[in-house]
Subunit: 351 residues, 2 copies
Amino acid sequence: MAAHKIAIIPGDGIGTEVVPEGLKVLDAAGRKFGIDYEFTHFDWSCERYKDTGEFMPKDGIQQLSGHEAIFLGAVGWPGVPDHVSLWGLLIPIRREFDQYVNLRPVRLFEGVRSPLAGRKPGDIDYYVVRENCEGEYSSMGGRHNRGTEHDMAIQESVFTRRGVDRVMKFAFELAARRGKHVTSATKSNGIIHTMPFWDERFEEMKKAYPGFKTDQFHIDILTAHFVQHPDWFDVVVASNLFGDILSDLGPATTGTIAIAPSANLNPEGKHPSMFEPVHGSAPDIAGKGIANPIGQIWSGAMMLQHMGHQDAHDAILKAIETVLKDGGPKTPDLGGQASTADLGSAIAEVV
Amino acid sequence: MAAHKIAIIPGDGIGTEVVPEGLKVLDAAGRKFGIDYEFTHFDWSCERYKDTGEFMPKDGIQQLSGHEAIFLGAVGWPGVPDHVSLWGLLIPIRREFDQYVNLRPVRLFEGVRSPLAGRKPGDIDYYVVRENCEGEYSSMGGRHNRGTEHDMAIQESVFTRRGVDRVMKFAFELAARRGKHVTSATKSNGIIHTMPFWDERFEEMKKAYPGFKTDQFHIDILTAHFVQHPDWFDVVVASNLFGDILSDLGPATTGTIAIAPSANLNPEGKHPSMFEPVHGSAPDIAGKGIANPIGQIWSGAMMLQHMGHQDAHDAILKAIETVLKDGGPKTPDLGGQASTADLGSAIAEVV
Ligand SMILES: CC(C)[C@H](C(=O)O)[C@@H](O)C(=O)O
Ligand SMILES: CC(C)[C@H](C(=O)O)[C@@H](O)C(=O)O
């Protein structure tokens, strides 16, 4: 099989520390399952921005487009406004490559303590399927009377039938391979144009999946249920913003958001998909070598799955499970003192 | 002192069951502290809507405007679309009366079990100060190509300097009487017009409160912190939508959202303020007489505080605390079998 061409963007902060561990584990899985990679490294980051005024070169998207997948660490650093850094790299990649699904598993592992009382592995095991190309994140809108006492800002959310239907379809197809249960995150009681539309599309989509269990909750009470009843969920489909919130809250209930991975998918494979941990560049712990690399490693596993290597994906997941369960090295967020590299190596060895 | 003129709107579902308990406790506090009320009851509800096509009469706002406060149960019922019921009553009241602060205390009581492991009273004790008149809840926007495959919806959020500043000022003033710590809920990395504006105003407002501790978190990680570090918070200021989410999530971490109250305040007292529990009409348990009335009762206490009766407010809070702690009657959500009326009476007796 030809080598998989993969673009590596470590980015900022702990991104540069966890990506090498992700690669370590990808290498181990590659050796075991006979998978070849061709990695290209890109130094796109806030540092580069400070030097050159750009996150990525003008033809950055074009440079990436020859790859099958993008393996990203984290982007963002104090001193560079977030809305500049993210809209200069992360969000353009998601959109230009039509990565319209952001898939985020939430799972409690044995050996990791949940902040929720009395929860065991199995009680928390669901997916957040987040719309990733439209919705509340849009460049439509702007400022009026800037700097005066009449200053104001308007932000437009855009929901299209095509955009909503395709992410809902993905959620139902995923649920078909799991518990056949889809929950929709809405807020149609407060947000009167887009969310009733979202509900309409969900009603319509349900018809194509008879026998599925479906429900919907307003985002406010849904966050409460994530804490009080995490066992209620199988696949949760949500807009860009609601999915963003739920996919940080969910992992928090599993003990640490540092283990949470994400896959920004162009499901049809017309464009590269991007794999990155849910956590950010974490300036508070960057440079210390203590970041938990599991979010990055698991993202690598999702990348292998997307590229057709289910067996390698499963082996990495099993290795993560084993190391966590069997008292392997634990980084500080997991209550231990191990380094990023210790934990990465331990997982790579078990794969 | 002249009697306080108060409009009573029980509304729908358990609203009609918990409001009488709220009144029972208001009466008890009135007797004890020599407070007189003049109650006017309104039957505005989904039932009325089904009969007449209107939630409130055309001159509803005018009818309410002669009152000092509005004591609301809950609005909404299956069969009436939420965005119809809420935009027909709750939201117009908030806006017409310029109730620009929605104040929502979050507190863990002794005798109530938190779903968070190892949390004790004192660990969870903060306020969410929610903007209540603009932001993400707006009637601007609409549908395009409705019913076709090119169907789409646009929703505009509107943030004004006046609207943002006044709610932030309220938050800082509240913090001045507590721990002098204000946290801002933002999402300026994803939402590029309104949230950077929100951050700018927060930076500006901080200057007027030297010596205060301030911080800000993106809403995604903030929900994680509510679960992992509830002890970090004192006063959290948030936009309409983010405040809505945080004020359901927060109470969920205290064991039951049924105890959470809210005050929709027009702080200057130019218009009536409205007091209502955070929970809704709860069709699943309505009609059984088992709803927890504490959210409604505590809302009544906030109403007394707003009308200048701090002593009566404190006495009701103390009574709630005592009944919960001393093994008084518990409704099913608190793990007991008591009825709504049992719990209401127990609190009224202790006031
Ligand atoms: C019912 C709904 C419109 C309302 C809101 O979102 O404001 C409710 O959730 C609340 O928090 O008061
Ligand atoms: C950094 C930020 C723009 C991003 C998002 O909101 O999408 C992040 O929170 C995420 O979840 O990937």
